[in-house]
Subunit: 300 residues, 2 copies
């Protein structure tokens, strides 16, 4: 693996620690009724994950010169949507998984009904958080952020991608079909993270926005390609979630469509495209470039 | 049943027909991929329900002199949250119900996984709709509407009420506990409907807002008390959903806590309180008063 620049890992660790604190504060206390639901929401969200989407929010915010106390809220909203999707995705009627982030999944720990409601309430909380803190100078911009997140989460975004995933189990998809699915399932929320981070700062020029969007598209797809490779090639212990699940469940993946070696190459091409899109944005885009490395070269 | 004023039923029918058209337009077309998900979302939402929450949005909007094209969007957002909650509530891991609005429930028709995702996507769509149309002169007011709906839907509102409901099955709750549950489970979204409808119009005076809120609280609780009575006393054919379910499932209800006769009286008291709260608001509150009658005196 390419060695990350010296300041990347400390920066990543600082954002991750900050998000743990912010999410802990934004989630309802476990002592507040209904306690079991609030416990389950905290269990699902805290102490886990690489926080890739929050990292992207902060990195895009740096490009736009955004205040960190705005970024932490936008990042929390995106992460809450991501966590809710994991909770629902693990349910028996979906992927039926028992392990997530190295811990038993929410429905294993709290039962299916509570897991369902915890996911539902995490989604609501994401929009609450996004609406109740000041995140942009102009409230109209902030309304647009709500819309962006809702679109990314909904049937034309993440939930739609999940639905295609579901219908495709046991089938072989061609590359355009795979891309249709993954652009929605993972890509939409990753793009939203980048857009929301930038929206917290000064308005970007049209050309800068276009570059950022190209970066986000490449990185969103790359993330999923690497996920497919890791599912096929890494161990459950390394991943903190069940490995080898895709092929066992007959899910169409990039590995199935093009083999591990070609999938790795494809991820590498996407990383180069993402970084090419950042050219001309200067040093302010440095964290975004580092994250492209991190997302593609990660081993878990 | 008290005869409604002559103009109430046509008004109600007009709002209901309008909502059918508005929801049909706001929902993704069934021909758009992922089609099965979009079909399920439309199946869950269209052709059904009394549209009580939209009616409340329109009635509160009349009090505040709001434009109808704003009200129809706010009403759609509230109704989409309500519909998503029904879809999830009917799932096997929750109430496991097969009949809703006189039709097979979504998971019976489309399978559990699609029902789960359809509910999730309906919640996202509610916030998308609320953010992407202009609903208030001041975008900051509209952000506050997003926050209101998110709070009403989340763990301190509807989802929290569902969680208490779940934990209480097979137990006997005293009246304060029952009220805690129902104020959240049903009351929160009903209050949000009233608040959102008013927010679409001219700002109300503080005293008017307080009166409206008292009305909304009474009507929200009354709605649930009447639901409990109907579940115990009406037939499945009349309700369009399974009757007698509460006692069969060991759910604590107002009927269990105080008997049918006293529960009916309690609903009647709440109706009088709701209408007393409207006194002084004049003719602009007429639809709200009529809805209090409708909610308490309905037979389905």
């Amino acid at each position: 693996m390419k060695t990350p620049e010296a300041d990347f890992v400390p920066w990543m660790g600082a954002v991750q620690a900050r998000m743990e604190a912010v999410l802990g504060r934004l989630l309802p206390p476990a002592q507040q009724a209904p306690m079991r639901l609030h416990e389950a929401m905290r269990y699902a969200t805290l102490e886990g994950g690489k926080r890739v989407r929050p990292l992207l929010v902060f990195a895009a915010g740096e490009l736009a010169g955004a205040e960190e106390r705005r970024l932490e809220i936008a990042a929390a909203a995106v992460e809450l949507v991501h966590v809710y999707s994991l909770v629902h995705d693990d349910l028996p009627c979906m992927d039926d998984d028992v392990l997530r982030r190295g811990k038993p999944t929410v429905h294993v720990e709290y039962g299916e009904a509570t897991a369902l409601l915890a996911g539902d309430a995490l989604q609501s909380l994401a929009f609450q958080v996004l609406a109740e803190h000041r995140l942009a100078d102009d409230p109209a911009t902030q309304l647009d952020m709500v819309r962006t997140l809702a679109l990314a989460a909904g049937s034309r975004g993440m939930a739609g991608g999940q639905a295609v995933d579901l219908e495709s189990t046991g089938k072989r998809l061609d590359l355009p079909e795979l891309e249709f699915m993954h652009i929605r399932k993972t890509g939409a929320l990753i793009r939203a993270a980048v857009v929301l981070g930038a929206a917290c700062g000064a308005p970007l020029a049209e050309a800068e926005r276009a570059r950022l969007d190209r970066y986000a598209k490449c990185i969103g797809l790359a993330f999923q390609v690497v996920d497919d490779v890791l599912d096929a090639a890494a161990s459950t212990a390394t991943l903190g979630k069940t490995a080898g699940k895709d092929s066992k469940q007959g899910k169409p993946t990039y590995v199935q469509a093009m083999g591990v070696a070609r999938a790795r190459e494809f991820a590498e091409e996407l990383r180069r495209d993402a970084q090419a899109a950042l050219a001309g944005l200067g040093g302010r885009a440095r964290r975004l470039a580092q994250l492209a490395d991190f997302i593609v070269l990660r081993e878990f």
